[in-house]
Amino acid sequence: MSTANDILASFEPLFAPKTIAVVGASATTLAAANTFIRRMREFGYPGRIFPIHPNADAVDGLPAFRSVAQTPEPIDYLYISVAAKHVPKMLAEANGRVRFAQVISSGFGEVDEGKALQEDLVRAARAGGVRLLGPNCLGMYSPRGRVTFVEGGSVEVGTVGVISQSGGLGTDIVRRGQARGLRFSAAVTVGNSADLGPADLLEYYLADPQTRVIGIYLEAARDGRRMFELLKAQRAAKPVVILKGGRTQQGRMAAASHTGALAGDDRVWVALSRQTGCLLVDTLDQFLDTLLVFQALTPRASAPTREIVMFGNGGGTSVLATDLFSRLGLQVTPFAATTLAALRALKLPPGSSITNPIDTPVGTLQQDEGRIAEKILDAIFANADPQALVMHLNMAAFVGRTRGDVLGNLMQAALRVQSRYPGRAHFVLALRSDGWPEVEARKREFRDQALALGIPVYDEMMNVGWALAALAQHERFVASRRASP
């Protein structure tokens, strides 16, 4: 069993490579590997890049070398995107000079005629002393090492570690996730996982102090047993969110033709979740929403999330959300008499409903620079004990209102109340848009403002519900395993 430090040290050349070599960049046209080189330069990669080319002297203005054995320095990270049949020979030539190779090329184990070639690939990597990622993947994103396969990935080093068996979905996870406020410690696409697989990277992220929550997109789990053992041993110390493709029979057929390995029975995934506390989700949106809740909030096993206070503009939205939350095991319980009395004493203008959920027109929320909202929240926290406060705003009501910083005032009010009652309730925001351009623009502006304050922001109450239900599940699991001997 390697220690956390051994694991971190062994992966350091992958996540922060000092040298990179690129196979498959063209001297004359624009291949995927040329795009990779351009992205690396734009992303500010500080180390040396060595293009490998059979006859050109230079590629993209960089001196090229004939093979991986001939670069002036050993290679920490080798990016390979050439026809599958050429790849094994290249790795066999590495001769201990290449630490990690990521094989983007497809045509290996995911298709019948490539299975033998994948075995050759693994043998060649072993012979060359190379650890292999892929084949049939897209690359890796590591903001701290300034390595990226994604266009537009942030240079900010975050706390979310991602493993994706699909390359395309890996791109979606980073880009869509980033637009929702996620910031990544790294994201690695592992494709066919011929050598290093999801369990190896899971082990790394569990050891990595920078990573606080882990997201995995899986299609097949050949190393399922090891994943189970790693997850069981960590007893949900870090939340792990799993988006598992191929949990239905039809999905399994799609997965089999995609990554080339049959996915396990769905029941085993439910079992994995129940006994290790990892969180299973069904859609990309749920995956990102759940990662965001753990990025932004600190789970509280001492008081697992259950009672919710809902506060916002939109009566119908509150009613529907109350139903949904209830189905998800979250309670929006009407306030007790003491809380109601305290709220009545505020003498809110007509049109407000003060039982839980609280429904208040924007005009009211805006009064007195958000101080009304602060008084409402103060009255609640002084008299009730919710585990989460969900504020939802229908953005259409904000368009055309230019007077004052309404959202800023509201958020500051919520944060001030939160700080007066430390450790009491999570704070989550839903910014609801009807999709019209001016509303979308306002929402984008509000979202950035909220994210800058560390508040998780969601599109709809449904997304809030999923995220809080996952948070609650994690908190309950941690609590149950602490209590058990």
Binding site: A220, A221, R222, D223, G224, R225, F228, G264, D265, R267, V268, V270, A271, L272, R274, Q275, S480, R481, S484, P485
Partner: protein, 237 residues
């Protein structure tokens, strides 16, 4: 015989599973309660062997050719003395399916006290290794597929949660005027099958599937009344 001996002798006889008698001895090795029993040969008077067993009895055929004993007419219950045992064995031997089968003999065992019938199972997942399963017997397993799975090894809290997860869990707590069953005894069975050091992990090279069906759980305890073990293809793994 130890667990390994039981498996070795089944393999030596060219069998791909353990018969009921061997299966129950295997369970007993792991501390799981099985009914007291004796094996009786087809033409042997049962009387002398029954001393020490308490009626009522169950008589079951034991044959490598008969997997579904009830369907083959190979199970008789509620038998009160040795004369009835002999008569039951004679009647079974005349049954067309049993008459054609290779016979190891007949298992005569004490009937378990009444209780809820559960199924405890095990199987080997190609990716995750041994899985342990529990469900309520009969239609709950077969029609409703109301079962809970976990990956071995399970802990006590996992076993508790498996039972709570069943839609029919209320039946364990004494629904419809019946006495609540002893959950702890059932949890012990689950741990002895799927816990650390349990049957599935200890024998994971040899056991492909395990089926304790039914396990009868009463107020006082849990007894595995039937057991089947399918062995992995020779050579293990």
């Amino acid at each position: 015989m130890t667990a390994d001996d039981l498996i070795r002798s089944a393999r030596a006889a060219g069998r791909s599973s353990l018969d009921e008698s061997a299966g129950k001895r295997l369970l007993a090795q792991f501390g799981i309660a099985v009914p007291s029993s004796v094996m009786v040969a087809p033409d042997e008077p049962a009387g002398p062997k029954l001393t020490g067993l308490r009626a009522p009895f169950v008589v079951k055929v034991v044959s490598p050719d008969i997997l579904h004993k009830s369907d083959a007419g190979g199970v008789r219950v509620g038998i009160t003395d040795s004369t009835q045992v002999d008569a039951a064995i004679r009647a079974m031997c005349a049954h067309p399916v049993i008459a054609k089968a290779r016979l190891d003999g007949f298992l005569v065992e004490e009937m378990a006290p009444p209780g809820e019938e559960l199924v405890v199972g095990g199987l080997k997942d190609p990716q995750f290794g041994p899985l342990v399963m529990v469900g309520l017997g009969g239609i709950f397993v077969e029609v409703m597929q109301d079962v809970a799975f976990r990956i071995a090894p399970i802990e006590r809290i996992d076993a508790h949660e498996m039972l709570s997860e069943l839609k029919a869990a209320a039946l364990l707590d004494g629904a419809r005027g019946r006495a609540p069953v002893c959950r702890e005894a059932l949890i012990d069975v689950l741990l002895r099958v799927g816990g650390a050091g349990g049957l599935l992990l200890r024998l994971h090279d040899d056991i492909a599937e395990a089926d304790l069906n039914p396990v009868i759980v009463s107020e006082r305890g849990a007894v595995a009344v039937d057991a089947r073990f399918i062995l992995t293809p020779e050579g293990g793994k």
